[in-house]
Symmetry: C2
Subunit: 234 residues, 2 copies
């Protein structure tokens, strides 16, 4: 019987992928997974599909990441750390916080949320396990808030005016993040049909938001709802 040995492909079988470094393959897998997630949602995140995209067999993914769950964690870790790095760099470079147009900071977060697929990833993550703590997010925002506070205090010396409180800043940052996050997910759904390109409207919205937030932080401080003073039950 001349049956071909099914146990393994012959040595120079073209189907067999030339051996790569673990890093290389893992990166390719994560890239493909990210693309799948961005396009089709969590349901489209099947090991066999990802494997086909990369050109490997699906057990190879399990070999590298242990389990599907492990792959997801790696995916999330990579996405958040990339964002953290970029935000950190922007903050330290001194640009982007109180910039005229709302700053590259908003842009970079928006881009990570949209093109980077971070919004979809985070949404999926939160949907799956509402109680899961995503402590990275809290850390980043806290850091941004602190940086902005310092920056605004410096600015105050130059321009005068009273700087907003830390809670004011925190809420403003929170609003920015929520808006970018929400926009990435459902922005296109909210766009009015009037405008032909929904994408353009999204960009325009982002610019508008940048100005609104900057203006707000700059001077027009919205008074916080009755402080911890005798809170009248509404």
């Amino acid at each position: 019987m001349v049956e071909s040995p099914k146990k393994a492909p012959s040595r120079s079988d073209p189907r067999r992928r030339p051996r790569q470094s673990a890093e290389q393959t893992q990166a390719e897998i994560l890239d493909a997974a990210g693309r799948r997630l961005a396009e089709g949602g969590p349901d489209a995140l099947r090991l066999q599909d990802i494997a086909r995209d990369v050109g490997i067999s699906h057990p190879t993914i399990l070999h590298h990441f242990g389990s599907r769950e492990g792959l997801m964690e790696a995916l999330e870790k990579r996405a958040t750390s990339a964002l953290t790095e970029e935000v950190g760099r922007l903050l330290l470079s001194g640009r982007g916080v109180h910039d005229e147009a709302g700053g590259p900071l908003l842009e970079s977060v928006g881009r990570a949320m949209n093109e980077g697929g971070l919004a979809r990833l985070v949404a999926w993550w939160v949907l799956r396990d509402p109680s899961a703590d995503h402590e990275e997010a809290g850390k980043i925002t806290a850091r941004v808030v602190e940086l902005i506070r310092v920056r605004l205090e410096e600015e105050q010396d130059t321009l005068g005016g009273r700087p907003p409180s830390r809670e004011e800043i925190a809420f403003t940052v929170r609003l920015a993040v929520l808006a970018m996050f929400g926009d990435a997910l459902i922005g296109s759904q909210l766009a009015q049909v009037a405008t032909p390109q929904k994408n353009a409207e999204s960009e325009r919205f982002r610019a508008w938001l940048g100005q609104l937030l900057a203006a707000h932080l700059r001077g027009a401080v919205t008074p916080l709802p009755e402080e911890h003073t005798g809170s009248k039950a509404d």
Copy 2:
């Protein structure tokens, strides 16, 4: 052979659910599905689990909704139409738009997003199929925008000041919706650990946002990014 006839339960079998009206059963199924979705995410939305919650067999769900997909659609339809009704009622009642505290409108949307699980439902929906059009959302927001515009023009006659453009209002409404949506999904992740109750912080944020938006619409109009309006940037 004393084995019970497996073909169907005997007439007074306690396992057999007493016959209900279709509406009743469908409502119970939708309730259970909504609870599952809110707690555990889309992965937890399995027919067998839902059936067990209600106390029926899973083919009964298929009998009522045709397919799992049909169930999801019904779930979404119910959620959005509930929101649409409430928003419509609030708008027609004349309250909630330019109210001092941001209005019951923000509250009601926020509640639907949070407790109603609308945010999770929509997020799941969008994640699954990014290209799916959720036209209901566009309709509602367009309606809100128009109502606010009229309201503000009336107010202008009384208080003076120039009313914001329609795009201004649209962006503001969009911001409000995005914030509520995002807050329902990841608000708790962004809350600073400083505050003990994250829920309280979320409410406080909502109130603050209401004031910010109201103040913005009222007078401090942020100039839109350069467009045909030759408005001088700040």
